[in-house]
Symmetry: C2
Subunit: 512 residues, 2 copies
């Protein structure tokens, strides 16, 4: 067993070297900048199985305070570097899960450490303002140099928020306000609007809806949760709104072999979306906005073509619905562009684009007409956090300085080639390898195998994330029982070799 | 005019000295610790009217990016100290509004600057973890030394969140989960529960409600917003839930003159609350939880007696509803105790207590039985922010070291005495002076006068906050048109002299 494993590894190693050295291969990484190499580790190093004894003891301790059922292990963030997460048992893992895709340029990046050590920023760390009423002097400049420097096409306005759920909740509110003012033909609410809203009744609190998609994930506060349809555990026992859900395309892979079938599938989904909009309008609960992820992440790394999104954008326009692209997980560079929707190639891709995670602050961009007409309609105490804007500005500097988007594109192709190869080697286990940039995924044959691979890869020093859930197909009546293994992130140092390492480690687990 | 103002000031000055020097007066402040005096300013200093020219230019600049209708002015946080907020036009104001009551111990407190300058904490600032799955090694200890060191009675469990709205949203979810498991008699959802929840339908997404109170404020995300009833501008055009609202007592002041009337008013509110619970159960939308603020802040600084809250707690028990005390604004020491509900003197005051603002991190404490039974039910990517826990631990150290809760109690009494005196001097303008600790308020005769006083006080160097809204009485059919001027905060240095200064400055505006 051990020897066969060694020989397999050797074979794979030869193969990965082949990828690296193939003449004219576009996927070979440039040498990473010197500063990165200096602070990063050179590979995983495992001392115990995970969670190790120290993690187990801390989990027990935390269990006296909180539900710890989701805790994987405890981390030593001080010792973590770049792509490598070190745990409290001194295990060092290659982390391509990156805190649910929320660490943009790796752990303890020297540029961020230097930034935070600058005494000029102490005031920003200890005086958190109420940004909506008393912003700091540099607030417009900081927004301009950070978030507005990567504005989606057609958007010059941005509102920061504390987290992804708050971003989507407020984006929904902005769409409702916009829609109602459009219905009224002006922005003056009636006395009846004002009095009924105070007791949660229409017309002040109108019967309006947000249309979302099967498998979508948009957060867990109650407005967001009404548009989330990825796993039952998120929604069970929580009251919800009567809002419509449309089907998200289920593409067949490899794409080039299923051109016609996938085009039909996308056409079917668009048609059903339009039917649902008409149906909900007829029953008196019109769709004010449509929300969708460019790649469904939590719901199983489901992709659709640019044509699908263009069609959806047109449907939104035709029916007078706002179009909200939720880039909380996809934004920040993991697809090789700052925003995944840039791959659609549209001048007017959306009315609202929300973000959080790798952008470090939550918030949303919006077109001028989606700005609330009066103050205090989109408002809360903090409205974000300038200390996070500070970090974001430096993250964007690093991404530009180190050409990380190109690096992601190059590394993502290498990773995807590795996944294709694995899939060819293990056709009974792996299928549907897919991705954009390093936002890659592959399906595993069943839940038990998926979980086994995740755990074994972790014990070998590669931290991956699973997504998708068998409960979705079951619930919507499909026969498919696919589960997914996600690899979705952007690192400082997504050097091709590191992503080979991922494939190599996955390979190592296939026959165990 | 100028001379009469001077003589009035002189008279008031004499009077405040009298308060200070009255023999046996319990309200005289101790000398503040040396470090505080050294870093604090000695009074307001105004160079321009507010907003000054620089603030106006920046507001115009920000207006290209966001709705700036709520912006008061721009701040120079670097130059702000203790109770004094400095703006970009070099105006220095005594700030008793403190970023909507979210700055616990003043600006640039030396202890917090020292903490953030410590290089040992850099890693916490640049590596924000997904706390629910990969907590840092010191997480249980940090929770124990910060939040758990001030746990409400009967609660040993706490869940951190990013902001006040997320805290309440998740507290509501915890109450719904608890209630449904109680209804089932076990925690195993049926297949129908699982399948229906994915499409937002009952029984998976059950018809359950949260009961809240007229004038209450619990946040602006869609679950929270359904329990907020303070101002129409928060709720207008946003869909809501059919959840019940009960009346919050409207006490008459001075309390000692209206003992019987106020007891009757509270009894009426309790009786209506119980009626509403029965009514909503009968119509198939039972009340899973009751949420209430110990002092309604945003809704107009409305107080009720400990007896009222005891009665409410009993009603919750009797009808099997969870009891959630929202201390987002009242928590953190401004009432002279860490939690306003401590003034009720109960061993078992609540099932859930939520917080944010002056606690710097959001979150909620809960009794054991309110812990979600499975992982990922109460969950999101960040689940709070360890860098905020770090600051909170030091804030609590400062509060203890400098005996700030005693200081708040002492200063609050002095402030309230000052408000009583002002009210006696201007009976046509001021009424209903009330407060607990420095969480004080006084009513102004009408909206225009209230706003005029706020602006004039600001131009004199005192930053106050207004709360309450005439729209509430109008909407619920009351005849009263009261508006309020709130002074609610805790500072490092709530020295009695500073609060005299507040009264003095208010006094200065009364006849202008």
């Amino acid at each position: 067993m051990a020897s066969s494993l060694i020989s397999r590894r050797f074979a794979l190693s030869l193969q990965t070297n082949l990828w690296l050295s193939a003449p004219g291969c576009r996927y070979v990484s440039k040498a990473a900048p010197k500063t990165q190499l200096e602070y990063d580790y050179d590979g995983p190093s495992m001392k115990t199985s995970v969670p190790g004894p120290r993690s187990q003891a801390l989990t027990k301790q935390l269990g006296e305070i909180q539900n710890v059922g989701a805790v994987n292990f405890f981390c030593n963030y001080e010792e973590s570097r770049g792509n490598y997460l070190v745990d409290v048992d001194n295990n060092r893992m290659l982390d391509v899960y990156t805190q649910i895709s929320s660490i943009p340029i790796g752990y303890n990046h020297p540029a961020l450490l230097k930034l935070m050590a600058n005494p000029n920023h102490l005031s920003t760390l200890v005086n958190r303002p109420a940004l909506g009423i008393l912003p700091p002097e540099n607030f417009p400049d900081k927004l301009t140099e950070s978030l507005l420097s990567v504005s989606p096409s057609g958007m010059t306005r941005v509102q920061t928020m504390a987290c992804g759920s708050c971003s989507n909740e407020n984006a929904y509110k902005a769409m409702f306000i916009w829609y109602r003012n459009k219905e009224r033909g002006h922005n003056m609410p009636s006395d009846e609007d004002v009095s009924t809203c105070m007791i949660n009744k229409a017309p002040g609190c109108p019967d309006l809806s947000i249309l979302s998609f099967n498998g979508g994930f948009h957060g867990r506060t109650m407005g967001c949760l009404a548009t989330t349809h990825s796993k039952a555990i998120h929604k069970l026992d929580v009251p919800s709104f009567d809002w419509p859900m449309a089907p998200f395309p289920r593409l067949q892979y490899p794409l080039e072999e299923f051109t016609r079938e996938n085009a039909q599938e996308e056409a079917r989904c668009l048609e059903e979306t339009e039917d649902v909009i008409v149906k909900w309008r007829q029953k008196g609960n019109p769709v004010a906005g449509i929300v969708i992820e460019p790649i469904q992440a939590e719901g199983g790394d489901n992709h659709a073509s640019p044509d699908f999104f263009k069609g959806l954008r047109n449907i939104a326009r035709k029916h007078g619905c706002a179009f909200h692209v939720d880039e909380v997980q996809t934004g920040g560079g993991a697809t090789g562009k700052y925003w995944a929707h840039e791959h659609w190639g549209m001048d007017d891709p959306a009315d609202i684009v929300s973000f959080s995670k790798k952008l470090l602050t939550g918030g949303y961009y919006h077109k001028d007409e989606l700005q609330a007409d009066k103050p205090y309609r989109i408002f809360n105490t903090w409205m974000g956090d300038p200390s996070k804007n500070l970090l974001l500005a430096e993250v964007l500097n690093v991404i530009r300085r180190e050409n990380l988007l190109e690096e992601v594109t190059r590394s993502g192709k290498a990773l995807l080639n590795g996944l294709y190869d694995l899939q060819a080697q293990y056709p009974g286990i792996l299928s549907r390898a897919r991705g954009q940039g390093t936002f890659c995924a592959i399906d595993i044959c069943d839940d038990a195998t998926r979980n086994s691979i995740l755990l074994k890869a972790r014990d070998k020093g590669v931290l991956l994330g699973g997504c998708g859930d068998r409960s979705i197909p079951r619930i919507v009546g499909e026969k498919l029982k696919r589960v997914h293994l996600t690899i979705s992130t952007i690192h400082t140092i997504t050097r091709t070799e590191i992503l080979y390492n991922v494939c190599f480690k996955i390979q190592g687990q296939m026959s165990l």
